[in-house]
């Protein structure tokens, strides 16, 4: 059965890299959103098996999005992966406190993303 994955990232370059990484996993339906508001809209419309989000985005940042995902009953246990340029311990801890399951710092390698997503989906 195909699983639904949402990528929330303002950079088309990063979205393309993430899509390439996810394609290696197999049967996934991948949706994209260019900012936090668009991401939240998609989350309210559909149930996702995994969400990948950037932190620094226009309209709504990724950390706010993570906290709103956790408030949604249907996505309380959905794995959320944060991918960001922010490598500080404070940002990392805040992301985990808000409900993120994994924290990956840029620049990312496609294989690194594939491994982490596969681990969370399994």
């Amino acid at each position: 059965m195909s699983r639904n994955v949402l990528i929330v990232e303002d950079s088309p370059t990063m979205r393309q890299l993430l899509i390439m990484a996810l394609r290696k996993i197999g049967d996934l339906t991948i949706d994209e959103a260019g900012d936090g508001i668009a991401g939240l809209q998609k989350i309210r419309e559909k149930v996702y098996d995994l969400v990948i989000t950037d932190i620094n985005m226009p309209m709504m940042d990724g950390l706010k999005l993570v906290s709103l995902i956790r408030q949604d009953e249907r996505h309380r246990d959905t794995p959320v992966v944060v991918i960001t340029t922010e490598s500080g311990e404070e940002d990392r801890n805040r992301a985990f406190r808000l409900g993120a399951n994994a924290y990956i710092t840029k620049p990312v390698r496609a294989a690194q993303v594939t491994r982490k997503i596969r681990e969370l989906l399994d």
């Binding site: 393309q16 390439m20 990484a21 340029t85 710092t105 620049p107 496609a110």
Partner: protein, 287 residues
């Protein structure tokens, strides 16, 4: 000889032997021959037994004589055979493990190569996905942030009037904060004038970024013409050094970013001119 003939008469002795008659002599001879035959048989049997004894002793010495020894010898032979097979299997396992290590190494190399190609493909695809000048500059910034991991950098374009390089897009600092660079002057000017990519990796350890001391200068070239440069001053904290894929990306950016910038600028200018001309024609035809 019968019993009576062999029995001495009472009162007689050995010193007084009685002469034998012819029949008794024949009996004696017959008995003697039988004794001789019997003796020969005993000697033969003795020889046979001695031979058998020697053979058994020999077998005992070689350890293959008794059934138990045979079994031990057989088991020893089997053990030896299994040991040979075991050693052979161990040797094969070592070979297979070596092959596995080799395959793993190759797999990692292929995966690394795939990652690099994916990054190069994405960079190339994105650079040529638009003809809008501002969007092209934005894509260059995204590539340098997300695929290379730079924190402070700028895209410079060459201005022929002033013979200098002017920052047109940047990350980490406002674009107007990056000073103009005269062609041929300083590390940036020299690298662009020489049309050679320059990496200053010894500066990676410097505590503060300096706009006069770049980490990398990537001239943007279309054949022999240099139209500008991407200049990196600081990498992200989690990116301690340049990787091989970064160098490949720099080479790709040097060519593809240059053509994307040049084409988009040309297209944007032509669109603007076309719009102006259209307005002029409209003005003429209406009047």
């Amino acid at each position: 000889m019968n019993s009576e003939e062999q029995t001495r008469a009472p009162g007689t002795s050995d010193a007084d032997p009685q002469p034998l008659d012819e029949g008794a002599a024949e009996d004696f001879l017959r008995m003697f021959n039988r004794g001789a035959d019997f003796l020969r048989e005993v000697i033969q049997e003795n020889q046979r037994l001695r031979y058998r004894l020697a053979s058994v002793e020999s077998q005992l010495e070689s350890g293959a004589g008794a059934p138990a020894d045979d079994r031990v010898a057989f088991l020893e032979k089997e053990l030896s055979s299994w040991k040979e097979k075991y050693n052979s299997l161990l040797s094969r396992i070592e070979e297979v493990e070596e092959e596995n290590r080799d395959f793993l190494q190759r797999y990692m190399e292929v995966e690394e190569e795939n990652n690099n190609l994916a990054n190069l493909y994405i960079a190339s695809y994105q650079l040529h996905s638009t003809l809008n000048f501002d969007e092209v500059l934005q894509i260059i910034l995204e590539i340098v942030i997300n695929l290379i991991g730079a924190e402070l950098f700028a895209v410079y374009l060459y201005e022929s009037k002033s013979d200098s390089l002017q920052a047109v897009a940047s990350e980490g600092l406002d674009t107007d904060k990056f000073p103009k660079v005269k062609l041929g002057e300083g590390d940036i000017g020299q690298a662009v004038a020489g049309a050679e990519m320059a990496l200053f990796e010894d500066r990676l350890a410097l505590p503060e970024a300096d706009l006069e001391q770049p980490l990398a200068v990537i001239p943007l070239q279309i054949k022999d013409d240099t139209i500008g440069a991407i200049v990196i001053f600081r990498l992200l904290q989690q990116k301690p050094r340049f990787l091989d894929v970064d160098r490949e990306l720099f080479h790709l950016l040097a060519g593809h970013a240059a053509t994307a910038v040049f084409a988009s600028r040309l297209y944007t200018e032509s669109e603007r001119k076309l719009s102006t001309m259209q307005g002029f024609i409209d003005l003429l035809t209406k009047s």
